[in-house]
Every structure is written in C-alpha cells, then in structure tokens.
Subunit: 371 residues, 2 copies
C-alpha cells in the first residue's frame, strides 16, 4: 500500500448523516468518479478510492477528513492538486481547508527553495519585516520605470517588483525593462550599500513564463514574480525544483480571487494563500491586506500568515506579503497584526510621494524596521 | 489610439452612485493600480486607464461596461485575461459577465481551430448530437482501460476520452495508455467503419502538457483534453494557434469550479465555460450538467450553450459537453434542453453496463441520434 495524505473539507451542512453522505460522495468524486457500487474490488477500492477518516461538527457545518493514496497522484503535482479539489471545486458549500501530507510529498514537490530564512538572508537582514514596492503604472516608459526602481532602491526597499500588469507592452517591453531596472538598482546599491533586489513579472503566454524566469536570472534579477492562477499551478514548482534556477519566487494573486471569496465554496484563505503557495514552492505570497480595497478580514489575513509560517510537512516557512491600500498611517496597525515575519508591499502610497520618493522610502523603512 | 475592448461586470449594488464608484474603482484596479488622482496625464490617463462606458441597473445590481485599450494587454493572452479580471477577481459582488472584443483580438488569440463544424466533420456527422465517454476508473490497468476504449468504439461513441484523473499513474502510465487506447480504437473502427477518436488527458506537470499534446498527435490520438484551471489559461491557446498541432482540444472543468459557483463573485457560467473557452481556442467544453451531482441550474447550463454557439468576435462556435450524472433515462430531458449542438458526455452510466457495454453504447447512440 502506498502512503496516504489527508485533505480536510468544510461541508456546509449541519445534519451529520447528510454531511456524511456528502463526504462519501467526495471520496468517489475525487478518485474513481464512477458510482460507489460499481467500484472494482481489490486495488481500486482498497487503494485508489478516497477514504473518509473522520467527520466532526465545526464552523457551522462538518469538517470531513478524507485520505487519498499517493498512487492517485502518480507523482504529478497537478494531478495531486486535482485529487485534492478537481471536481469538488465545483460543489457548493464545500471548502478545501486543510492538508496533512505524507512523507512521500517530497517526491511531488520540494517546496520553497528559500522561504522565510532564505529571503531574510538574501536581504541581509537579521529579521523582518522586509519591504517591497512596485514600479507602475503600466504605460510609463522603460526609462521612467527604471528611474522609479532606482529611487526605491536608493530609499532602501528590500525588493522592487514589477506591477503585475507589466508584461510586454510596447511602452516598456519585458527584456528592455528588465535590463534597465536591474541596472538602475545596481547603480543605487553601489551608492547606498543596500541589497535591493529587482523582481520582474515573468507571467507570459506561449510558455514564456519559464523562458522569462531564466532570462531574469541571466540579467541579474533578484527573484521573479508570477501569477499562478493565470500561468498554471506547476510553474513555480518547476522553477523551485530546478537547482540551476535558484532565484526566489513571489506569487501574485491576480485571477485567483474567486477561488477564495465565494462564501462556502473554494479554498480557505489560509489554504490558498498559505498552504498551496508552499506546495508550489513559492517563497513569498502576495495577498490583499485587510482594511484596504479588498474584503479580506484581519482574521483571514492572520490565518494566511499562520499557514505561511507554521510547521507543515517539513516545507520551509514562507513570508506573507500583504498589499493593497497600504499607507504610512497604517504602519502601526500592520506592525501590531503582522510582527516581524512579513514583507510589506507598499505601492501607491509611495508613488504619491514621487517628488520626494527616496526620502519617503527611507522614512518608511526606518519606521517599519524600528517596529 | 489603440482599439478598445469592453468588459461587463455585474456589480451587486443597487444604489447607482455607489455602483458607479465601484465601477470607477475597477477602471483603476485593472489598469494603473495607483490612486486615480495621481494617474499621469497624457498616454496613461487617455489610453491605459480603464474607461467607464456605461452603467445600467440589471439583475439586482448594476452592470458596468468598462473599456480597456489593447495596449493594456500588450499582445499577451494572459495579460489580456489579467486586464479583464486580474485583481477584480478578488472583489466580492463583482462578476465578469461579458466581453465585446475589438478586431485586434485576432492578434492575441486565433480562437478554436475546429469548433462545432470541425468536430462534426471529424466525426463524419452531418449534425449532432455527438457522444463521448470516458475510460475509468483510475487504478485499472492499461489493458483494462484499452479494452474499455475499444468497447466504447465498437459501440459507436464519437469520442472516447481519458478520465480527467488519469495522468501518469503506475497502473496505466500516459504513454503506454495512449498507445494501447489508440490501437484498441483503431482496431474497433476497422471492424465497424465508425470514426471514434481517442482523446487523452494531457494535463501534466513540468511543462509536460505541451509535450504530451505532441506525443498524442504522433501516436494517432483524435484530440486532447486538458484542465486549463490547473495547467494554465494559455496552454490551449498555444496549441490551437500552432498549425503543426492541428488536433481538437477539449477542456475539463477540474479545479475551476470556485470561479463560478461563488454567489456574486467570479465569472458567470456563460463567460467561464463558454466565452473564455472560445478565447482559449478550446473546441468543446466539458461542464457539469444540470440535475446531476453538481448545482448548475438548467438556465445556467443553457447560458453556457448560448455562449458556446452565439456569434462572438468572429471566433468559431464550439460544442458544449455537459457531463456528470447523465443516464439513459435522462436522454429525452437532455434532448429537450440541448437539441443538436452538443456533445453528451456519459461515463458512469455506461460503465455500469460493463458486461454488455457495446450493446449499451449502440442503444444509447441510436436513441440520442434519433433525437
């Protein structure tokens, strides 16, 4: 028998027997996908079929613990995700909230290469918080974006990333922007002694995401950012698993939102922006901060932090990177919520200070690091 | 000025002024992602910034029509999707329901290579419905699965696909299964004169989806199936755009469900399983049928059919492929709902008749085609 891993689903049903039937349906739906009474005896029934391991009343419904065999996944990361939540993602009142992997998970994903400790080391920091900003808006020229990148670096930000909307637009094509921003940041680092790293957005069509990752490495980028919900859920893992790549990976939540904001369905915030990111080999996960333009609550954000940092299957802890609507005024509130293990992503509020950007960054960095 | 395309969002807000403010926020969120008052004048404000073109009360809220420049997408399909719904996918009570593309869409995606007409021609049918079944469950040996494929073909099904959970498991590795099923179906076709086509599941990690697509072609498969929500939203488009590939593409909804089943958020059923599929170059879209194991209503399913078949930007109409819980008894109900332009996906109900599968398929095909 192969090792088994256990997924937890919150089933929005208070009646035990009904919840149990729905849980048993999931054991079939996620594996054999034929009626239970015609599942072949032997290997298929004993090994491949999902197994209801527990069912308990919780959170206004029932949490079902269902185990699957590593043979279901057949060594493929996407098939592993498919077993966890392929068809059942279409069920209402059914939410994927947890995973207890088996040791054989290591055959499917190595997890993050850098994680929290690696990112701190690259940033030359004994501890966090770290700071990240984004060059934007789309439509600026390469020269303007590179100047912005240089100023962020002079101001002492740890990471300067592309806005997630910067792709290969004619005003600032990917390769040109990459070289110019790396050069601007290197020049700034030469003056300041800081170690600011440039993180280009590599999400691209025609298989270009992987190509741009290696181009970024060759050109001296300090990491890469991609949107897994657009580019696919195996791209980060593929890069994280490749020792020849060796750059940190930051994920962006673009196109992913509906996976978590629908009531009762989809993924818990913690699973999607925490657990799944670590499975994918992501080193820092961007997600919308509470109190900003999006609807995530403080509790939901802190559940993401826990899922990024908690002991999980021997995979490295990673850094949560809350962003969206962060301002200077909110720094104390953020510090209170997040403590040290966090990357603050601050974009618009700094760009508002464009005329005195370097000084504004310095002020922000000092405030945050004094924390 | 570049051409503009218009996305429609259903904003779940009855107050006009509040809905308007939320719509204006989307124009910013999806493009410049900096506060409106610091958007640079000139090209960025005039071209890149989203533009609210209309706002009308509908469906218990307001529908906002927002135009974006093709310059926002910069020729990249994933960035085009990102502009449509990247960050705004994270908003509650905000649903992407429509797209009016500009002629320049052709630079971003060619759409489906075969579509409805091409699939009918490949199947040698003057009109539909077409029939598709799936070999399963995971855990059967290659020999057993190939026998099943052969029997489906002897029974006259137009397409025999892999179950979406069949990846590269040791009991039936991809390459071995592909060859065996193609051979079994060819042998059956030789006896019957039918033109049954085998559709392997090519979804795979390590960039393997594209590799398996070409392997499928070389081995004589009749098409490929993939799960875009797992493999990424550009894989089908990449294959559809490649004249050297030239096989039909069927999409599977695995891992996609939370994008549509959350109330008020995500995508409309029609957009996700219809419009988006055509943009991706998919020729037939599998989705959960009404009255089966999932919650899609008859009206939601028929909205998908409309989005598959209606005139849309010069892209070929495609075939909807409802599946999940289809039985012999439901054929009249299906015929009433779907008419001729449909692929019926029937799996479990046929496998239940394993001992007399060929006869069961024949009976089903005759009933359905007699329509």
């Amino acid at each position: 028998m192969a090792e088994r891993f256990i997924a937890s689903y919150l089933i929005g049903e208070t009646d035990y027997e009904t919840a149990k039937q729905r849980a048993l349906n999931i054991t079939v739906e996620q594996t054999v996908e034929i009626p239970r009474d015609i599942v072949p005896a032997g290997y298929v029934e004993d090994e491949i079929l999902g197994r209801l391991e527990g069912l308990e009343a919780r959170d206004g419904g029932h949490v079902a613990a269902i185990s699957y065999s590593m043979d279901d996944a057949g060594g493929d990361f996407l098939q592993f995700l498919n077993v966890l939540f392929g068809n059942s993602s279409i069920l209402q009142q059914t939410r994927l909230i947890g995973l207890k992997p088996s040791p054989a998970l290591a055959e499917i994903t190595p997890g993050p290469r850098f994680g929290r400790a690696g990112l701190l080391e690259l940033a030359g920091a004994a501890d966090g918080p770290l700071l990240m900003s984004a060059i934007k808006p789309v439509g600026l020229s390469t020269a303007d974006l590179a100047r912005l990148a240089g100023d962020f670096a002079l101001g002492g930000m740890d990471f300067v990333k592309d806005d997630h909307g910067l792709a290969d637009q004619k005003t600032a094509p990917f390769s040109e922007r990459l070289s110019a921003c790396v050069a601007a940041i290197e020049e700034a680092n030469g003056k300041t002694g800081f170690r600011t790293r440039f993180i280009p957005n590599i999400t691209a069509h025609r298989g270009g995401t992987i190509e741009r990752a290696y181009e970024a490495k060759e050109e001296g980028a300090g990491g890469v950012m991609l949107a897994p919900a657009l580019a696919g859920y195996d791209v980060a893992r593929q890069l994280a698993a490749d020792p020849d790549f060796g750059l940190p990976i930051i994920s962006h939540p673009a196109f992913s939102g509906a996976n978590v904001v629908g009531a009762g369905c989809g993924f818990s915030h913690a699973f999607y922006y925490g657990t799944l990111q670590r499975l994918m080999g992501v080193d820092a996960a961007v997600y919308p901060n509470f109190g900003g333009r999006f609807s995530f609550s403080r509790a939901e954000c802190l559940s993401i932090v826990d899922a990024c940092l908690e002991e999980f299957a021997g995979l490295k802890p990673i850094l949560p990177a809350p962003g969206g609507g962060m301002t200077f005024e909110r720094v104390p509130e953020m510090q209170d919520a997040y403590g040290k293990d966090v990357i603050y992503l601050i974009g618009g509020a700094l760009i508002r200070e464009r005329e005195t950007l370097v000084a504004a960054c310095r002020r922000l960095c000092e405030t945050v690091r004094a924390g």
